[in-house]
Symmetry: C2
Subunit: 324 residues, 2 copies
Amino acid sequence: MYAIDELREMIREELERKEYAGEPRSLYEPVIYMLEDGGKRLRPLLALLAYNLYRDDVEKALKPAIGIEIFHNYTLLHDDVMDNAPLRRGRPTVHEKWNSNVAILSGDAAAVTAYKYIEYCDDKYLRRGIDGFNQVALDVCRGQQYDMEFETRDDVSEEEYLTMIYLKTSVLIAGSLRHGALIAGAPEDEYTALYELGGYLGQAFQLQDDYLDAYGNVNEFGKNIGGDIVTNKKSYLLVKALELARDETREELLAWLAATRPDPVEKIKAVTGIYNRLRVDELTRRKINEYIEKSNEILARLPVKEEFKETFREVVRELVERKK
Amino acid sequence: MYAIDELREMIREELERKEYAGEPRSLYEPVIYMLEDGGKRLRPLLALLAYNLYRDDVEKALKPAIGIEIFHNYTLLHDDVMDNAPLRRGRPTVHEKWNSNVAILSGDAAAVTAYKYIEYCDDKYLRRGIDGFNQVALDVCRGQQYDMEFETRDDVSEEEYLTMIYLKTSVLIAGSLRHGALIAGAPEDEYTALYELGGYLGQAFQLQDDYLDAYGNVNEFGKNIGGDIVTNKKSYLLVKALELARDETREELLAWLAATRPDPVEKIKAVTGIYNRLRVDELTRRKINEYIEKSNEILARLPVKEEFKETFREVVRELVERKK
């Protein structure tokens, strides 16, 4: 079995060949720009790991794995337009560097390119592969729709929030594992179990993101701490705080949410203070651990080599212990 | 063989069932809005006609035909955002009625839905069907990219223009015929010939659109006459006029293109006058007829029932003799 670093290197090399970029080059420049800035490559890595569980010729799964990464970056391109986000991984977003038309159209081209790459597989897996990918892609749209609708609501329940991030983030992580296993010839109950496992892993991953926004170290996290707080983003922390806050604490929290042009440093300090009082940080860590445990349970039951399980646990540790 | 009206009725009924609309409904409302306003249904009609050429059970091709219509409407959704168009078929565009985020995201969901529908076919046609659709979808993006790049250029050649509209408009019309024939089990040389034929038909169709913008009857055309002229849209008429105009005529034309906030009625009258002097109207009609002839030549050679050829010619007449 390949080591994580070896797989990451294969992904990096394949992406660097830029075979996905056609004519006119201007249509693909924003996609190249998105893909060249690194990122964790979590999704293609998971696809290759899942494939490698059943087969050694992982180079055959490289194109579909890259397709998933291209798909992920297409969703980021469009999300950044919709969220009017100025920065992505520390660099200007595509609609800032070019304009929003470029981000829309290059994103559309990237989505089709993703389909092209994902279908690199034996004919016998093609229909299930495309069906699975369609389901994932639609779920991501559904999640983004809920996310946008939550912006104007103050009564988002924990369950609604968890469903939203499941659709928006976790299904693609789950789908990466499922697709890798499927095209390697895994039995249905195993690629389905990997999908379930990936769903829990995705939830832990997203909650860790929410946690780091308030409790990360600015130098390591790479984005500004408190960005979610400043923009009133409905993160798990805020959803839980709105659920738990009573009396003056609730009034204080709602006042900060309603404040027009508050000082950002003061607001971050005050809202983080409220989170601390309500122990939202602890609750979030607990929830993350719940998801990790659930994914571990599925992993334990999976009839695969112990060696794979260890590699997989390494990825989980990297994700959940990460500071950025 | 089914009559055109029967096929159109089947398409209407299938669309009316709105089976494509999932949850949350808000994500699909803009897609329903786009699809319920009629339109010519040219692309699904061509897909069904091509299928019907080889098989009688056209109901089996309905879902893929609808998928192509959904795809077409997804491209309109995004194009309207990019062009900042206020109206589509006489009604407010989706980004006007809702907002541009809605148009982007519902468009993305529609694109995936199109893929879901297009893959309704026997497994043996799936890879070629998806490959063909990927190629068409990427070509449409490429055409839109060229179209946007042409906006800021005054030296677009006739050849460049014809390539652009081929990519942006004709390949999808060609692809509709090819997909219908492919999933009906047509031989490769025949579905390829139908693709070529559709390409010529698409060119004639788009040039007719360009022609009607300046020479249509406002009551029949449904949009304002001269919309392309007012916005300096690089239509075939303008590209030809820029190629042919010399001396004072050229200066006059360039002055109208450079004018800031000119009176639209005066501008339309003046530019149409220039077109008349340069005989751009005649040249356009001639070009349309060239394309129709080319498509007729392919049709004549195609070893299919004479009855189909007549039905097909009826569609061509409808498209080229249309006033709107």
